[in-house]
């Protein structure tokens, strides 16, 4: 009986393992197609410099909570973006430090009685300010809503342009980020939201809020996250885009049609992963209403973000992301296998539930069962060894394929030494780091099951981003 039991367990894990890796490899192939298509169409930028002057006005909403150290530099950088028509709206979410005072001083802010319509719910706005130095800068000072979603909603209420980009106050944008990110809206009028690739800023030289030189971090945790971000954005997102099933637009940088944001009720302040929840909700509402729409993703690096370099911060971030994943999917469970949901309902959401959400649970269960069988002497070690080797080699294949996609699309790490470092990280992450992420994601899973809420989170920043 034990033999039959262990065999069935082995087969179950094997089936899960084969399915998840086939899924990732499939995403990879779709991503290659998507990137090739994108690169072909993006070649128009070379041919038609005038095309980049086509624009839709954009409101940049920058939620800020206790960002005193970096807020002035970040906003100055945003004001220098190369885009013909945009406004910046900073939402100070009741910071307890001197974020607002710094803004008032640096930009000569002037209290200003803005009369606007509250179209998505948010905490009370205490005051609005306009800058005497920059006509396109406004600042909203509001009561603390406890999360980025509430602050973003205040910005959505007050902004004036048809497109709204929600940007992290500590994110580093490229000067042409808006020109690039707006392309899905220009090319397809049905686009309601779009995101771009986010890269790791650690190790890069950032001056006055702009990226001066791309580099790799020395910190191992940050280095491994470079690989993770390449995987997540170049085939994690790009693999869903051509089939109309992008479920996440990164909270670090995303552009939305304002009317759509208002129609779906803005960001959900109760959501832990408000960025993913919003996109899944947009899918749900528009799919179920039978509307034609498009959520775009471009593989261009549009935003650079600071990655946590300490285990504690990284663990907390990953647990939060996983908690947010579970919550986003369950808040929109109507979409699961819905006959009207298309690829989102029948492909993306089942994939996210079985492989992303339940993945760490199955992996942890596998380890427990493995240990138990080991103590009972029921493990065939040569077979187990092959299985572990297979798991490692497929992980390596996916990482190397992400590096290849980077080289193929928008290579940023130009030095041979950097390429070697990326390969080394792709190998080394399999020993310890991947297992740790399983543990963090498992914690996030437990948090989701037990329903714990999230508030603004402070992560210790690396030296690369933040100040001057």
């Amino acid at each position: 009986m034990w033999v039959a039991f262990t065999q069935s367990i082995e087969w179950a894990f094997l089936a899960f393992f084969v399915a998840i890796n086939l899924g990732y490899l499939g995403q990879n192939l779709i991503a290659i197609y998507g990137i090739r298509r994108y690169l072909r169409s993006s070649s128009i930028d070379d041919h038609d410099p005038g095309y980049s002057t086509v624009h839709l006005p954009i409101s940049l909403v920058v939620p800020a909570y206790n960002e005193s150290k970096s807020i002035v530099t970040s906003i100055k950088a945003l004001l220098q973006l190369e885009y013909p028509d945009f406004e910046v709206i900073v939402v100070n979410d009741g910071s307890t430090d001197d974020t607002l005072e710094k803004l008032i001083e640096a930009f000569q802010l002037y209290p200003y009685p803005e009369a606007y319509r509250i179209q998505v719910p948010c905490k009370t706005v205490r005051a609005t300010y306009r800058s005497l130095r920059y006509r396109n800068l406004r600042v909203v000072n509001k009561e603390n809503g406890g999360c980025k979603a509430d602050a973003s909603n205040a910005g959505i209420n007050i902004c004036r342009y048809p497109l709204v980009a929600v940007v992290d106050a500590d994110g580093v944008l490229q000067r042409n980020s808006l020109t690039r990110a707006v392309r899905p809206f220009l090319e397809n009028p049905a686009t309601v939201a779009a995101g771009g690739a986010v890269r790791i800023a650690n190790g890069c030289r950032v001056r006055n809020g702009f990226l001066e030189e791309v580099g790799l971090p020395r910190n191992f945790l940050a280095l491994v996250q470079v690989i993770e971000y390449l995987r997540a954005f170049l085939f994690g997102r790009m693999g869903w885009e051509p089939i109309g099933a992008v479920l996440i637009v990164s909270g670090a940088f995303g552009i939305f049609r304002r009317t759509t944001l208002i129609e779906v009720g803005g960001f959900d302040p109760q959501a832990v992963g408000e960025d993913m929840e919003l996109i899944v909700r947009i899918h749900r509402k528009l799919k179920l209403a039978g509307r034609r729409y498009h959520i775009g993703f471009i593989p261009d690096p549009v935003c650079w973000t600071d990655a946590p370099e300490r285990l504690k911060d990284l663990g907390s971030q990953r647990a939060r992301w996983h908690n947010g994943l579970g919550q986003a999917l369950m808040l929109n469970k109507e979409l699961i296998l819905n006959p009207r949901g298309g690829t989102v309902s029948w492909l993306a959401i089942p994939f996210y539930i079985f492989f992303e959400l339940l993945g760490p649970v199955v992996e942890a269960l596998g380890l427990v069962v493995f240990a138990k069988l080991g103590t009972l002497g029921l493990i065939a070690w040569p077979e187990a060894g092959i299985f572990v080797l297979l798991s490692l080699s497929l992980g390596l294949l996916l990482s190397i394929s992400a590096i290849m996609l980077e080289e193929f699309s928008f290579p940023m790490y130009r030095k041979p030494r950097e390429l070697a470092m990326l390969y080394a990280a792709a190998v080394l992450e399999n020993f310890g780091y991947r297992q740790l992420t399983v543990w963090w994601r498992l914690k996030g899973f437990v948090r989701w099951v037990t329903g714990r809420r999230h508030r603004w989170e402070t992560i210790t920043r690396s030296a690369s981003v933040g100040s001057g």
Partner: protein
């Protein structure tokens, strides 16, 4: 387990192959970049010399460099006008770029087609007018709008005659580009065909076309708005006509339009008063400060602040007597905006 072993070997082999492929990609890209830099450096100098009109015969352009040089030529030409532009066109002819652009505009890949169509415009290639006009109906909106812009360079007056009737059907064309090409033709060339098209168009199409009316001559624009305001009833069209109006043609119906059920008509009517109104319109606008729609309140407040004979103290007096908090707030905002400006 044999399968797992083979899968492991396959995964490792694939990883190694991808690694080698990545290295090859990098080597190729370095090589391409260097070659491109060399081509650019050489031909940029040739183009610069030609612009000064030194009369030298340009070197022979190798076939493999034609595309790169055409891009470089396009880039330079898009920034140059006058005699230097004529010399650039002469250089293109000497290099055989006109023939190359004509062939690529028909048969090239997307990027090459775009470069070629743009070049035909920069070359003012009248012989290609018909082919380029056909490209304005291409399924790809980028090809279509690039072709439309090229036409405006080849023959602006003929281009607007041909393009204005197509505008309503090409709503995917970026408006900034449409404005640019109409501006190139000038208000005199645009006025008559636009008026003709607006009169013949359906309500929805006329409303769309009216947004380009600001390029038309002032009298034509106003006559167009007055005619539509007196003869049509579609709310979107009325709002579009009010937006364009800048004379008294609309005044006859203004009270009716200020009370129109569609908020955007009320908003545009209030905005129009801001442009043409005087102190006698104060009460009309004051009433709209309590409109249920924010935008109407806002436009009415802005209009009040703009009324030429209304002083700041008069505005403050109006504000102080407003009982509706929404009306009070919005007027306060408009006054604050005016003060900052």
């Amino acid at each position: 387990m044999t399968a797992a072993l083979w899968a492991t070997i396959a995964a490792i082999a694939a990883s190694v192959l991808l690694l080698l492929y990545t290295i090859e990609l990098r080597i190729q890209s370095r090589f391409r970049e260097r070659r491109r830099a060399r081509v650019h450096a050489y031909w940029r100098a040739v183009i610069a010399k030609a612009m000064t009109g030194d009369g030298e015969v340009p070197p022979l352009l190798p076939r493999r460099h034609r595309q790169e040089v055409l891009k470089l030529w396009n880039y330079t030409r898009s920034m140059i006008e006058g005699a230097a532009a004529d010399r650039l066109i002469a250089l293109a002819d000497q290099l055989g770029l006109r023939e190359f652009a004509r062939s690529q505009a028909q048969h090239g890949l997307l990027g090459r087609r775009l470069t070629a169509i743009q070049a035909l415009g920069h070359l003012r290639d009248a012989e290609s007018f018909r082919e380029v006009l056909a490209a304005t109906d291409d399924d790809n909106p980028l090809v279509a709008i690039t072709a439309a812009e090229a036409l405006a360079e080849i023959d602006p007056a003929r281009a607007v005659e041909a393009l204005i009737p197509k505008l309503a059907a090409h709503r995917d064309w970026p408006r900034t580009h449409v404005f640019r090409l109409l501006e190139k033709a000038g208000s005199v060339a645009v006025s008559e065909p636009l008026y003709r098209c607006v009169r013949a168009a359906s309500d929805a199409d006329a409303a769309y076309l009216l947004q380009f009316a600001e390029i038309a001559e002032f009298d034509v624009r106003d006559a167009m708005a007055a005619e539509l305001l007196s003869s049509r009833s579609d709310p979107e069209l009325l709002a579009a006509a009010l937006k364009v109006a800048s004379g008294y043609g609309a005044v006859a119906r203004l009270d009716e339009l200020l009370d129109h059920p569609a908020w955007y008509v009320r908003m545009q009517a209030a905005a129009l008063l801001g442009r043409i109104g005087n102190a006698a319109d104060t009460q009309r606008l004051e009433k709209r400060l309590s409109d249920r729609e924010w935008w109407v309140r806002y436009r009415a407040a802005k209009a009040l602040v703009r009324l030429p004979t209304l002083t700041r103290s008069a505005l403050e007096e109006i504000r102080s007597r407003l009982r509706d908090p929404y009306a009070h707030d919005v007027l306060e905002q408009a006054m604050a905006e005016a003060a900052i400006r």
